[in-house]
Symmetry: C2
Subunit: 251 residues, 2 copies
């Protein structure tokens, strides 16, 4: 029995939702409304004490960290293969999933928090907000929420994040000049990780991700959007705004 706790199909939640769907696995989808802070609820903190999504529960065992969830899924359900058999190609794939986790995602995440959290919490009184913050298990996350609620990330940090996101996109564009998929000739977990970050970027970061500047990224994004597993993943969301506009899967 497989269960996935996840938010809207975006970022790290999207990463593991897409992997499960690419494998064609049946799983129970537990949707948590991050706008209602459901990931910090006492019920969910029993599942993942860090209060973060996604979390996979497989026959009662809790597996966290989206990149490691995907490696686990690959270990248990190797077909269809999303991790190359050749060790060098496999290293190449992991190079990308690690790059996403340590460079691209943290930078993109700060820009997203700066944009999204304040509108999400400004209807709360200070006491209501503080009550929600106190439930967050990780100190780092509490700090990030407090800063984001005031849109108070320092300009220097935001500029640095913007530079890292642009560097990430240029790097992926260069990789796609070499191969059809990010880590080589085959579709792998590297594409899953990159798409988890880039899915919404043609809308929110159009200035750096568009047909003129990054034609290969845009074409790859369209190939991703045409995958049935991507369609199945968006079907598990609640808010249609999370589904990128653009070309649909061919009939």
């Amino acid at each position: 029995m497989l269960e996935l706790y996840h938010g809207e199909p975006a970022a790290n939640s999207l990463k593991s939702m897409l992997c499960l769907n690419e494998k064609g696995l049946d799983f129970v989808s537990h949707f948590l409304d991050l706008h209602e802070f459901e990931q910090h609820s006492p019920e969910y903190v029993k599942v993942n004490p860090n209060g973060q999504v996604p979390a996979l529960v497989h026959d009662g065992a809790v597996i966290t960290e989206s990149t490691l969830i995907n490696e686990y899924i690959e270990d248990v359900f190797p077909e269809p293969r999303l991790r190359p058999a050749d060790p060098l190609a496999r290293w190449q794939m992991r190079y990308w999933t690690k790059f996403v986790d340590e460079y691209f995602c943290p930078a993109l995440s700060i820009l997203g928090w700066q944009r999204m959290i304040k509108p999400m919490v400004e209807h709360l009184t200070e006491d209501e907000f503080e009550e929600k913050i106190q439930r967050i298990p990780l100190k780092e996350q509490q700090d990030k929420w407090r800063t984001a609620a005031k849109q108070a990330f320092p300009k220097e940090q935001l500029d640095d994040c913007q530079r890292k996101v642009e560097t990430s996109i240029r790097k992926i564009e260069a990789a796609l000049a070499e191969n059809e998929w990010v880590a080589g000739p085959d579709y792998t977990l590297a594409d899953v990780s990159c798409f988890a970050m880039m899915a919404g970027m043609p809308r929110f970061h159009h200035a750096i991700l568009n047909e003129d500047l990054t034609p290969r990224c845009i074409a790859w994004h369209e190939r991703m959007m045409a995958r049935p597993a991507v369609e199945a993943t968006y079907a598990l969301g609640r808010n249609p705004a999370f589904r990128p506009a653009g070309k649909q899967a061919p009939d």
Copy 2:
């Protein structure tokens, strides 16, 4: 043919040196003197364009990122096993290697840079220093060198790093209350990753890693020091100061 480019047996260099030695693999050791900035030399940047160690060269292919080097070694040379066969135990191992890479290592690294870089560069004139900095391929690394040379990391950042290092040690101490090794009953790449960080800590961070506060970490450190592969790893260094004092391998 295997070649490893590495610095002294410490941190990320130690991580991959130890993995190769645990496997009993023959490899050519290319020692780079980080105190002489050899990792930024034009010759080495041809091997690893990021100018960072370690880098493994296997039959001409360059493999970087110490955690991924170790996964690659495991993929190509599976015996003796350092990655559990059971998927859940394997996830547990990866949880720790990821924790080291994303939380423990970055925090410990800043504290080490604050302590070590200034004495290492203060004999240089400003022009000599700037010439060395200009050779560093990554902007992030250039910034870190400039800040470290002046011991100018903000106090708030240093306090945060200290807190994270202490949290890391407490987490490992708790894991060692459950099992003999960090990720479970077997010695794995999780122990290799944690030792790469903790090897020098009983000396440099004695206040938080000692027999009173963290007896299980100290006992584990001694078990690590008694491993022949650890001894073989220290034999590849140049500066004996990098070898932790303490109990030796039993005869």
